[in-house]
Structures are given as structure tokens and as C-alpha cells.
Symmetry: C2
Subunit: 656 residues, 2 copies
Amino acid sequence: MKKYFLPVAFFAFVSVSLRAQTPTKKFEPVSFSQVTITDNFWKPKLDKVATTTLQACIYQTEGKTARIRNFEKVARKQNEKHEGIYYDDSDVYKALEAIAYSLKNHPDAALEKKADEWIDKIAAAQLPDGYLNTYYTLTDLSKRWTDMEKHEDYNAGHLLEAAVAYYNTTGKRKLLDVAIRFADHIDNTFRLQNRHWVSGHQEIELALMKLYHATHNDRYLKLADWYLEQRGHGYGKGVIWDQWKDPKYCQDDVPVKEQKEITGHAVRAMYLYTGAADVAAATKDAGYLQAMNNVWEDVIFRNMYITGGIGSSGKNEGFSKDFDLPNEEAYCETCASVGMVFWNQRMNLLTGDAKYVDVLERSLYNGALDGLSLSGDRFFYGNPLASSGQHARSEWFGTACCPSNISRLVASLGDYIYGQSAKGLWVNLFVGSHTTIKVGKSTIPVKMETNYPWNGNVKVILNPTKPVKYAVNLRIPGWVKGTPAPGNLYSFTSHAASAFKVSVNGKPATYREENGYAVLDRNWRQGDVVELNLPMEIKRVTAKTDLTYTNDRVALQRGPLVYCVEGADNNGQAWNIILPENTALEAKQYTVLNEPVMAIQAKAPVIITSADGTGVQTQQKEVIAIPYYTWANRGKNPMQVWLPTKVKEVKINSGN
Amino acid sequence: MKKYFLPVAFFAFVSVSLRAQTPTKKFEPVSFSQVTITDNFWKPKLDKVATTTLQACIYQTEGKTARIRNFEKVARKQNEKHEGIYYDDSDVYKALEAIAYSLKNHPDAALEKKADEWIDKIAAAQLPDGYLNTYYTLTDLSKRWTDMEKHEDYNAGHLLEAAVAYYNTTGKRKLLDVAIRFADHIDNTFRLQNRHWVSGHQEIELALMKLYHATHNDRYLKLADWYLEQRGHGYGKGVIWDQWKDPKYCQDDVPVKEQKEITGHAVRAMYLYTGAADVAAATKDAGYLQAMNNVWEDVIFRNMYITGGIGSSGKNEGFSKDFDLPNEEAYCETCASVGMVFWNQRMNLLTGDAKYVDVLERSLYNGALDGLSLSGDRFFYGNPLASSGQHARSEWFGTACCPSNISRLVASLGDYIYGQSAKGLWVNLFVGSHTTIKVGKSTIPVKMETNYPWNGNVKVILNPTKPVKYAVNLRIPGWVKGTPAPGNLYSFTSHAASAFKVSVNGKPATYREENGYAVLDRNWRQGDVVELNLPMEIKRVTAKTDLTYTNDRVALQRGPLVYCVEGADNNGQAWNIILPENTALEAKQYTVLNEPVMAIQAKAPVIITSADGTGVQTQQKEVIAIPYYTWANRGKNPMQVWLPTKVKEVKINSGN
């Protein structure tokens, strides 16, 4: 057994600002902790997460399962048995992180008390050398750090993220100190000993970068970078490598900087590249960016669903081969879409290019949001794009990564709306909210008003106390444009695309287009109102023919939302509808369960069965399509995102 | 490390008869080594196995993969690396076993030479203490016998089976001696040391019983019994228990004698119960039989496909919940159907009840035979009952259990045709063949002539040198009867079932029905001809409504064969056909690839698409159904076993 070097001064980094700037980022995101969300679409969802989803997480984590009990058992030191799976600690941390974000927009004393109570239990379970893992501590501590697949550093990463988030919202640092001790333990055990270690489930890299930015201690940056450098050299040991013989599964077949293709487990990949982008931004290491450009294009051009979901195969919870994107069998784990949001945010910061936010927005409003029921207490682990009616949301899962992941994403929405730099303001997502940005020495209150995604009008109201010159960068979503970017898997065949409009104080404004943003560079005064008007036409989307699953099929999109046809709105069926080229499509006020939405309405050929079941015929019928994220909230129902434009053949369903 | 007790006299059991009789069996099977197959249906398949399938196995085992090389590496002792997976040794043994059977009906000097060459390499890889396993010997011998999932005794079991089979055909005992040494090593290491061990993949139990019957050394019976007794007491250690926490997976959650339900991995279950039946027959232990009656009914009444396939779920390669038998997603591993043949044979011997042979025949002619292409060199691992055209047979598999398993089953067909006891002859399968049975002191040549399964006429010609009184037991297949047995999942709604006929020397014979057999108890003379005439009507099969996947659907069966509709015979489609109640069905001479078969022909409503894809209508069309085992031999094609009797709704297929 190695001896652990414990630095004496690990409490030394307290007073430093928590929002660090790294030089190569084009701008910094405004933290959730500085953004108040008032949005018509999102605020009720944030409230639902606080009042319902997090309650479900707490009930499952401490009431129904042993996740909290395991920490208590470690603290009691009475040789009690570990219950559950070795990665269960992470669910506690992720729920805590979600609570941390939630407290910002939905303060709740009881929730904060619960978090403090958990934090006490977690702290009590940390070993004197900083190690913190209920599985190994309760089973056989001598086996710790032997199987790299056993999620020890994955758990650690989620602890770090929770600690930073909780500190950011509350200023309380008990959990942060626990995280620092554990991070130091890991650094001492591996990097400082030149002991090789490949994380079997990436996560700690991005988490260490958060800790680095929170503490300004560059040992965490070094450790994150070291973790990245460990991959692809055959250092892996444990079940992935020795038993499954599948280093690709955790992107360990090739050094990160040499990776060109997306492979393996989707969530692992997303967390890896998020961490790599964070490290690249801090170290200015161009190698990671080059690799990620290639990998990103491999995702977007050949391996992403229209919903922004990724990882089509349930077998490896990940990628199979290019264009293998089946609809009904789509795995599309909720966590992978959450990971797409993380990674694309980092790529946007690193490059200043809005195309990454287009993907982020696609994953957020569709693939990720679909993981959470409208009621807030049911979840999808996988998010298929078609269903024969077999799919239903669950209360929970044995492997429970998704519920707390979608909770923390929704609760942290504030992180993704605004950006700021010395030169100006970036508006990435259109969400009713207010914040205060720093431009040079000026502090500028900013307010956004919108009914997005139902309506394309976005007002940004600027309130500098005295006039100040800076640039306002308004993202012009990729879906506004009629023509797809080269290489893109999906393209729009829209009815007469109209242009977006930008005005200031009610008058058309001059702007330049740069990196996907409309840039308004001018002297701003208190009360200036910037208006962006995005045309909300219904788009017919087609995919490249390489994607054979969607040949002769069309999907519908309006704004950032992908639509689907569900049986609940269409006489119980969804697979008997044809949507020929010339079908007229209309937006319509509609309600799914209690959710007010814009539905899409059409008159289209539908195959009808005779009452006695002996024959079929085609009739023109009213068809309703609803936003994809709202499906599966009214019982088991057939559903389709991609509708046929013509019939090649039919399959008869009988009784089941 | 334990010391191994090596018995001095392990060569002592050589001269004893290899076909042992155990008292509680109702009769003994006639061994393949005593049966010459001349059958129109089966002989070409046995020849194809010899000339093509086994060549593919050899090519894959020694040419394309490292399976034989691993044995060579052990013998060379040069610290070379193991290649492949820890259970790969078993594929060598299973191919050898298949060769052994094949040499009986299709002698082939080159094949026998290859087998001898492999046996030399295997023998050279055995350690002085009897241990034989290339994985542990080439990786870390100190880890042997630590993870009960690592298939050490599974591999051993297949070695034993191969050794006994090869000895039975050739009389050569080199491999048998290797097997005896390994079996003794295991017995010394565990049973004689009172050291607990749960086999993570059952197989060795039934193999030890073969070794016991071959050697008459009852330590192997004791060891087999001991292996059974180890289960269900929490002794499991290794990945199944410690990591997956799923002892049910290998039927280790409950002691074998207390098991009531079928659970877990299907092949493991079949091998377990086969071994348990073998042990029960030898020890007269009623506990096993009682348990197996319950489990068998759970399989047949609630968990078996109409093809005799079992294990619907790919997730655990096994059973999920009662009546969960999806058609297109059916896993139905070929090996599991092979296991059904094994287990049901043992149950038939133990009880004398023909109902087990009904199941055996169903699995053999459908679920198992489907695993082998008509060309003999392509394989199915899973055998779905419906396909949208995505399924294709493979040349080989990473986990390559199925090809050699179906090879050894077909090649050993002789084991399943006849039974004998002091009282008479049993005819279980209808296969053109000849053998010689022993009835009391008499030796009676027996010959069977038939065109089964295409035709229901079966002639059995008896040639005792002098008249002798005994019983001829002719199995009357369950499918002859119009009404299903109580509890059965499937039932026939046949057009006017006609009765079977039994005659002797051309005249109607008197017989009694007993245990599903027509028993003719009389004085037999040389040249007596017993004729059984089975009505070969086409049966419409329906399933209990609990099996929701087949509600309002019908399957077709003729004789033992289940039929399917494949696109290749029906304008490329198989999901657009309706088969209403009153559809006239006719048998028709037909050819699938080069296989002459009886197809089923009908005129039925078919949903036709207009050329421009805008609409559909129903038309009466000619429909062809082919035997299920012949599908997927003419490229990728949609297929269905269960056809709708009426349309509830349709699904539109578009481009893909």
C-alpha cells in the first residue's frame, strides 16, 4: 500500500473569486447563480423540479434505496454491508448538485436543510486520508483503486461538481472542503506518484476543472490534464479491459488528441470531451481542439438523431456505426443528451461559434427534456423516436443516473443563457430572465422577455446606469436558415422561409453577422430595447439518404422543437399516417396534459381499417403533431417522429 | 494452495461396457453409435454437417481464431499470451464431439485424422495435476478456481462429452484418459476437500454422468450429484454473484430440488436440468424429478415459443416473465433449443411419457434446426419468429457456442430415435434408419422407412432371427390430437382431424395407448412390418390470450413443422397478409433454395400499395408459407410465423 501525501495547506484557497477567466475562451458564461429565470416556458419546469422532481430524488435516494444509508454505515464503522451498486454514491451527489442549482431560482429552506443534512453524512463518511467511497469502504478497502471501471473517480467527480455548485449558490463550503480533500487524495495517489490510472467512466476531468476554477489551485487543472493524457496508452486495468477487452467503450483505444471518431459509451464520451474542452481552454492546448473538431463532426454529420439524442445502441449504451440510427430501438439515453449540452457549451465558449449552441438547444429542448415527464416525477432512461406503444416513463431506475441528471440540467438552465466578455454580451438561449453582466468596468443589468419557443419575439432590455459602448451578440439559430450547413445530416424543406429581424427601440437596426450571431456594436443607454424576431414557420425536415431509417420520411420542426405524432391525439394510432410533400401544416394552440403548447395540425391521408378487420382504405383525416418532449404523458401510446411521405408497404398489427 | 490427491488407479475402468443401464429409467436410448441413418430428410443434413459445417468449425477454430493455438501455446511453455475469451476451449471440445458423432454416419478419414491431431494438442496442454484450461494456464494459474463464472468446469464438461463421444465412435481412449484425469482433479479439489463450488455455467453435471456411464466409476456420479447440491446455498463467488448480484441468472438462487419456476439464462437452465435428470435416474432421487416437473410445466405452459425455442430475452440470454414471448425480438438461442432436446430426452427416459418427445421434436425440427443454414455454413445465434428483413445468418460468432452445438446435435440424431428395454422397443422419432436392439436375450434388427416429416407414413420392419414376444411402442405425436393437453400454451383449430392408423403386415392392428405411445404387444417374426399412418393435415395454431403478442393471430403447422411466411415467396413482403378463419390451406411440393419441402398455399387478403404510394387496398392473393427452419436462406427478407386473422391497425413502412 502506498503512503498518501497530505498537503498541509489545502484550506488555503478560500477567498479567491469563484468565476475564473481563462484566456482562450471567446467569452465566459454567466453563471446560473447570477441569473434569475422568469420564463413562461422554463420557470414552471424549474419550479416543478424543485417541488416534485427533487422530492422524488430524495425519496428514492434516502427513503426507498440505501444510497444515504451507505454513507451512514461507513460513519458508524460497524462492518455493515454495502447495499446497491458501486456507483450509487454518485446519485446522492447529483441530487445535491441539482438542489444547489434549484435553490437559486426556487429558494426552499427545507430543501437546503435536507442538503446540509446529507452533506454532514457525506463528510462523516470520508476517511482520514481523503478517500470517500461507500462501496469499497464497506466491502474491502484493500481493493480500492484496483479496477478502473469501478467508478471511484466518477463518483468523486460528481462530488466535486455538487460541492462547487452548492458553494456557488449558498456560500457554504463544508462539501467543498470534503471535495478538496478527496481531489488531493486522488492527486497524491496517482499523478504525484506517476501511477497510471485510466478513468473507466470519465467525469472527473470536467469536475476537476470546476474545482480548479472555484479554487484557482492549478493542481486540479494539472490533474484534469493528467487524466486526459492517461488515455489511449494501454494503461487500462479492470473489467472493461481484461474481461470485455473493449477499451473503445470508454474511449481508451486511442490517445484523446488522436481521436477522430465518436465511439463507445455515449455519456462517457460526452463527459470526456467536455473535460477536454475545459482543459484546452485553460492550457491553450490546440491538440484537444483539433481532435474534438473531428469527433464533433462525426457526431453531428453521421451519428446524431434529429432530437439531439446520441448513442443509438442499448448494447453498449452508445455508438454503433455511422448512420445506424433506428427510431423505435433508439437508446438515446437522457444522460447522453445532457452531456451534449455540456460539451457543446464548452465548444461554443472555446470557438465563439453559435453552431454549437444550435446543437445544445436541439439536445436541450428535445432529447434531454424528453427524459422528464410533464408531471415531474416520471423519467425516461432511453428516448426512442418511435413507439408501438410499449414505452412508458418510470418512477426510478436501478441505475439511476438519468433522473438526477435531467434535474440538475433543468435547474442549472441559468448557466446556458448569457455570455459576457470585456467586449460585450452574448445571448445564446432565449429564456425570459434577468442578470447583470460586466463589460469592462461597467455593470449592466440585462433583462430578456420572450414567449419562446412558442413565439419568435425576443426582447432584450439593457439598463446601463450611464451610456456604454459594447457589442450585443444575438444568436441567430441555425434552424432560421433555409439551407443546411455543409455536411449536416438533416435539412429543412420549408415553405417560403422568411427572414429574421433585428430592431432597436422599435426601429430596424444595423448589425453584422459573425459566427452565427447578429452583432450590434453601439453605444447603449438605459432602457434600450433590442428586439429579435425569429420566423416560427413549420419546417419539414428530411435526412440524408444514408440514414436509411428515414428514407421517404419527413419530420416536423418549429423553432427549436421537434414534433411527433402520438396516438393520444390521433385515434390511438401513429403509424397509419402519410404526410405527402404538399400537405398544408398549421400551428395551433393546444394542450398536452396540463402543458400549453403549439401543436401542428394537418389534413393528411390516413389508413383506416374496416370495423370487421377484413380490409383497409385510405382517408383524409385531421392529424395532430405535438412537441416531442411532451409525448408519453398520457399513458402508453404509439408515437412517431418520422412520418412516411408515401407508402412502400404496410405491416398489419393485430391484437396486441 | 491446496494439495491435489491423485488416485493411482485412474486407468482402472477401461474394459467395462460403455452403455450402462440405470434402474429407474423406463427404457434406455439406443446410442447413435448403434444407429445407421438413411433418412431422406436427415441423411443429407448429416452429410452436410460432415462435409461443410464441420469444415467451417475447423476453419474457424484453428485457422481464423486462436482456439487451437492456445493449446499449442500452453504446451510450448513460452509464456505466450492467451487469445480470445476464457470459454473458447469449449468450442474445440464441442467441434470434436460433433466430429465424433459425424464419423458414425459419415466416416471420413481426414476428419478423424484432424480430430486425433487436436486430441494430441489438448493432451499436451494438460497440467501434471490434471488441470486443463488454456485461459488460466496462459494468464495467471494462481487465479484458477477463484471466479465461479469463468467457465472452467463448463469447459471441462465439454471435454468430457467429447471424450466419451469420441471413444464411443472410434474406441480410441486418449481423450477419455485426459477427461478422466481432469474430472479426478476437480473431484479432488472440491468434493473430496469439502470445498464449495457453484458452477457458473452448468454443463459439467450432465457431462460427468456421461463419464460415469462410460467408466462405471461412481465417483463421477457422486461428483455430479455434489455439483447439483452446491446450488442455492449462497456459495457463489465471482462476477455473477459479487458484481451482477444475480444468482438467479445461473439458477443458484434456490436449491435445485426446491426450484419451481424457470429463470435466468436459458442454456444454463437446460444443461442443469439435463444433468439433474441424469443424476435422478441414477440415484432414484425423487426430489429432482418433482422440481423438474414444476419447472418443465412453467416452461411449456408459459415460456416456450411455438418453435420449441426458449429464452425470449437477449438481455440475459434467457427468461424474462411469463408469456413475455415477443416475436421479432425473440432471442431463442439455438443452444437453448439444443438444450431443450437434451432435457426432454432425459425426462422421456425417466418417465416413459411421450409428451417430452413432442417437445423434443418441436425444438429439434424448428427452434434448433433453424440455427443451421441450408448451405450448412451459416448460423443463427438467435432465432426470431418475425423479421422486418434485418436478420441474416452469420459465418461465425465471437461467442461461438451455437455452430458446434447445432453440429453436434444434428450429427448425434441417432441418439434420439429408438429406445429399448427388456420389454421392448420404443420408436420416438420417425427417421429412416436401421439399428439392432436387445430385448431380453434376443437381438433384433430393426429398420425404419419413412418420408417424414413430409409424409406421415412410417414403416418399422422387425427382423428377429426367431419369433420373440415383446412390445413395440410407437410414439403418437401430440400434434395428431385435435385437443391440446391441459395447460398447454398452444392449441390446434384443425380442419376435421382424422385419426392415425396402425397396421401390422398390411392389416389393422390392435394396440393399447399408454403414455402417448401405441403399444403393440405380440409375438414378432422375421419380416414383420408395422405401419404407422399419421394424418398430415395442416393445423391452424392459436395461443392462449395471455400471450398477447399472438392475439388475433394464427400460426400454421404440418406434422412437426412450424411454418412461416417469408418475403422471398410473397413479393418481398410478409407483414401485409391476413389469414382469416376460413382460409383454405393446401400442401404443395415446393423448393426453398435446394431443399425440397412441402409448402402451404392459400388464397388470402393481402394489403397492396398503389404504385405512387398514396394509398392502399386489400386484394385476394396467392400466399406461400414455408417450413420455419428454411427461412433466411435467400438473402434478407421479412418473415412472420404468426399471421393476423384480422386487421386491427397498420404500420406504414417507407423507404428502409
